[in-house]
């Protein structure tokens, strides 16, 4: 392209002494890190709108059927819900500390914090399992076997459909995150991360915090509808 395109540096010598984790199509680790975090944030945007569709359905029916929402919500165990909220917030803390440990080059601490995060995530899922089990026993699972006393049975079934979809998708995200963290913990154990390159820890952290945020909304929306008895 004539004088329009000049030659910048030697493409060859840039490769000669690059960091082992620098992929060939990036110029610097910094560029690679920025690309990865930006990519993760964009993915989380899609997640916001993914759950957004369910929030829309929730909002519409809550406006239409306040009584059904109040009655059906009381079937959930507020203690378990609050406990799980605390557990998940705790796991967000340990995840943030894991990223910090990776940033500061503390390999062992990174592993420990990630394992702790996984443990808390596991506790959450166990509690969720018992909550689901209780719903099955009380026939609160939507479908032909759904039982709900009173005139609000129809909308209550919509409530429980949304409950299972929202919490089920959230739990699915947690299980995926659990496996990703297992890989990250193993990589940290193998001392793959340095203060120069800890991108996988950071983007896993972003993902996990997002899962936490979803629950921060699900908890009041599902468990805390009209506990004061306004629509009793």
């Amino acid at each position: 392209m004539g004088d329009a395109i000049a030659v910048r540096g030697g493409h060859g010598d840039a490769h000669a002494h690059h960091h082992p984790d620098l992929q060939h199509h990036f110029d610097t680790l910094e560029q690679q890190h920025e690309a990865a975090t930006l990519g993760m944030w964009l993915f989380l945007i899609t997640e916001v709108l993914f759950f957004g569709g369910l929030f829309l359905a929730y909002m519409l029916y809550r406006v239409w059927y306040p009584v059904a929402w109040a009655e059906a919500s009381r079937e959930l165990d507020i203690v378990l819900g609050a406990f799980n909220t605390a557990v998940l917030i705790g796991s967000s803390l340990t995840m943030a500390l894991a990223v910090r440990a990776a940033q500061t080059g503390k390999q062992r601490a990174t592993v420990v914090w990630i394992l702790l995060t996984m443990a808390l995530g596991f506790v959450f899922l166990v509690v969720k399992y018992f909550e689901y089990k209780e719903k099955f026993e009380h026939h609160h699972v939507p479908g032909p076997n759904f039982v709900f006393a009173g005139p609000e049975a129809g909308p209550a079934q919509i409530y429980f459909s949304l409950y299972f979809l929202m919490t089920g998708l959230h739990a699915t995200h947690m299980i995926i995150g659990f496996f990703i963290m297992a890989v990250i913990a193993w990589m940290a154990h193998k001392k793959r991360f340095t203060p120069e390159w800890y991108t996988p820890v950071e983007i896993t952290g972003l993902y996990w915090h997002f899962v936490d945020i979803v629950w921060i909304f699900l908890f009041p929306l599902l468990y805390l509808v009209d506990r004061a008895g306004h629509f009793a």
């Binding site: 009584v67 009173g150 005139p151 609000e152 129809g154 629509f231």
Partner: protein, 318 residues
């Protein structure tokens, strides 16, 4: 109304055709005039023009505002039935249209209406979405399970016109068609009188009302366990939860199918649900019966001919 829709349509067609022709002619003229076979030739370095950009942003916008406003005006009138209409009920079901006239006639896939009178069809669906489409009258609305929709039109010519289902509904979607038979008013009266052996729609509703023992609780005075239904239609009613609701077709339907959803203030939630026990047509008969329970205006069953005795025919093409 049909001619108003057409006028608007041809206006927009004219405007858009104008722009299409201008751009096409310019493209062809430029392609011909500045055509070159020299691959190294270079065009004049023109980078843009702010006045032009503003002009071709603002002018089309203003034109589209005019189209929007005109179209919105037509739309509102399409949604607004006049005060005096012939009321007809309809139920859509795969793959047929069932019509119920106030005088008691029922038809399937055929709808008889008089010329020059506004007709309002209130309808719902028993299964999936359908759409009631009268192309000759330029009206259409989806039939939605659990809801009442309406269309209205005034036929201006005698003859037979299409009725289509416009919302895809499965196997015989294209067979879910019918015809509107537009008749002289006199012939229409004869037709009305012809088939009403079973009594009017509200009489059928009254029959159901008694058969289902609704009348043991809903008495004509306020002594029953349920509220009296006389003079209730069309007025707001206080609910047990402190709000109030307008008594309309949708509310009456809901109160039959899920009685406790919107309980009237001062009454116990005793009424059983009729969900699954009544066809949409029976519900319509009951709704019409509740509508007929009025002391003002004479009471008794309403008939299609009634409004015409007191009101002039709806002016057409306003």
């Amino acid at each position: 109304m049909a001619s108003r829709v057409d006028n608007l349509y041809f206006f927009i067609v004219a405007v858009t055709a104008f722009f299409a022709v201008v751009v096409s002619v310019l493209v062809i003229v430029f392609a011909a005039k500045y055509h070159t076979k020299d691959p190294l030739a270079v065009g004049q370095p023109i980078h843009g023009s702010m006045p032009l950009e503003l002009a071709w942003s603002i002018i089309p916008f203003l034109i589209s505002i005019v189209i929007f406003a005109w179209a919105a005006d037509v739309f509102f009138d399409l949604q607004r039935p006049p005060d005096q209409t012939i009321e007809i009920y309809s139920t859509a079901k795969r793959w047929m249209w069932k019509f119920q006239h106030l005088d008691g006639q029922n038809e399937i896939n055929e709808l008889h209406v008089p010329v020059g009178r506004a007709v309002k069809v209130t309808f719902t669906s028993e299964d999936v979405l359908h759409s009631m489409f009268f192309p000759s009258f330029r009206v259409k609305a989806d039939a939605i399970p659990g809801r009442y929709s309406t269309v209205w039109f005034t036929a201006t010519k005698i003859g037979e016109f299409h009725l289509f289902c416009a919302e895809y509904c499965g196997t015989s979607h294209s067979g879910m068609i019918g015809k509107v038979v537009v008749m002289e008013p006199a012939a229409y009266q004869t037709w009305l009188a012809g088939g009403a052996g079973a009594g009017s729609l509200s009489q059928r509703g009254e029959q159901l009302f008694n058969d289902l023992a609704c009348n043991t609780c809903h008495r004509t005075d306020d002594t029953g366990r349920g509220p009296s239904l006389v003079n209730k239609f069309g007025a707001p009613v206080e609910l047990a939860n402190g709000t109030s609701v307008a008594v309309n077709e949708a509310y009456v339907r809901e109160s039959i199918l899920t009685p406790q959803a919107k309980l009237v203030a001062g009454f116990q939630p005793l009424m059983p649900t009729f969900q699954g026990l009544l066809s949409e047509e029976s519900v319509i008969a009951l709704v019409e019966y509740v509508k007929s329970l009025r002391t003002t205006g004479g009471g008794g069953p309403r008939t299609a001919s009634e409004p015409s005795a007191t009101a002039p025919a709806t002016p057409q093409n306003k």
